[in-house]
């Protein structure tokens, strides 16, 4: 079976094939067992993909977003406004920091969590959460500086 037919079968499955082409292909599928089998396999893979229903919007979500938005003026949040040399210097500094961080992290990996360790486990969890949060902020900064968010400025 050619690659083109495979693509057409996928387009048909996703409703992306123009109506007349879809009609022709359906007729072919009806008479060609090999094509019919290929389509069924594709359909079965697609329909087999299943995820639980997405969680509902948590109450007060929009309010929390707006509280964060209002806590800082828009300009102070943006690295895009910074001059190029400042962004380049910051990016270099952050890259050095990341490299050092990777080295340190590899030498001292975090202790494994255990449900049997009671309060000790809670403390480990709390420190891991704080670490993740700090890491998230750090990488947000790295990405903002490195990309300048230019691509996302274009819709």
């Amino acid at each position: 079976m050619t690659r083109s037919i495979d693509y057409d079968l996928m387009r048909l499955l996703h409703g992306e094939l123009p109506a007349d082409e879809a009609r022709t292909l359906r007729a072919r599928i009806f008479t060609d067992p090999e094509l019919a089998q290929a389509y069924r396999r594709l359909e079965s893979t697609w329909q087999g993909l299943s995820l639980p229903p997405a969680s509902p919007v948590p109450p007060g979500f929009a309010g929390r977003v707006m509280a964060r938005v209002k806590s800082k003026p828009a300009a102070s949040l943006s690295w895009s406004a910074a001059p190029g040399w400042a962004r380049a210097t910051a990016a270099a500094a952050l890259l050095v920091g990341a490299t050092l961080g990777i080295g340190v992290g590899r030498r001292w990996p975090a202790p494994a969590r255990s449900v049997d360790q009671g309060s000790e486990a809670s403390q480990t969890f709390l420190s891991a959460t704080a670490e993740t949060s700090l890491a998230d902020s750090y990488w947000n900064l790295v990405e903002d500086v490195a990309t300048g968010d230019a691509a996302e400025a274009q819709p």
């Binding site: 495979d6 996928m10 387009r11 819709p155």
Partner: protein
């Protein structure tokens, strides 16, 4: 599904809100959050596989949108732009997650499948178990896809976007969407076959 077109910017009132935000009116951002929060939360959850993490991610996406309000050029629908920010943000989070695992020497297989919501208590237990098994298999399969294929698959399969809409969100051609989706389908076919063998083996155990 959102309507698609080479829609004029004027038809989406979200651009007007963003223009007001750019002019210093922070409150003008509220209607935008209200109208897009559900879709963005769902998208983040689909991409990250974790509701808690998705909430944080969606908040960050809105903050990014807020600070970019002055730089964006109104074109098409606002949701397309928001989706693009969300996809980039979630993919970055996934990269970071992998890096953290690497730093901690975690076993990637062990942490591949995130926690699951319990199935509906009123449902048939066998059906619930089956559904849960399919969710787990789907999440595992999606998690193993390369990023570019994963985002296309989630947008088409779970967000119901057309190829054209996905192309607009990701800033790629429709041909690229098709090609990534096709390669994802091939990988998923293999994964489902392997999963089927695994389930059969587990069921055969005494």
């Amino acid at each position: 599904m959102a309507t698609d077109s080479a829609t004029s910017a004027a038809s989406d009132p979200g651009w007007e809100s963003l223009a007001r935000v750019a002019a210093g009116d922070a409150a003008a951002f509220a209607p935008l959050v209200e109208s897009h929060q559900e879709r963005l939360l769902h998208l983040c959850e689909r991409l990250l596989g974790d509701a808690e993490e998705a909430r944080d991610a969606a908040q960050e996406v809105f903050l990014k949108a807020y600070r970019k309000a002055g730089a964006v050029r109104p074109q098409g629908q606002v949701y397309t732009w928001l989706y693009r920010i969300a996809v980039n943000h979630c993919l970055n989070k996934l990269r970071r997650r992998r890096l953290v695992r690497f730093l901690r020497w975690d076993d990637p297989e062990e942490r591949q499948a995130p926690a699951f919501d319990p199935p509906d208590a009123g449902a048939d237990p066998a059906a619930a178990l089956d559904a849960r098994r399919r969710w787990q298999a789907t999440r595992r399969a999606i998690a193993r896809l390369p990023e570019n294929q994963r985002s296309v698959l989630v947008l088409v399969r779970f967000e119901g976007l057309s190829y054209k809409q996905v192309a607009a969100v990701l800033g790629i051609t429709e041909g690229a969407v098709e090609s990534r989706l096709f390669r994802a389908m091939r990988r998923l076919e293999s994964a489902q076959e392997a999963e089927g063998s695994r389930v059969s083996l587990e069921e055969a155990k005494p």
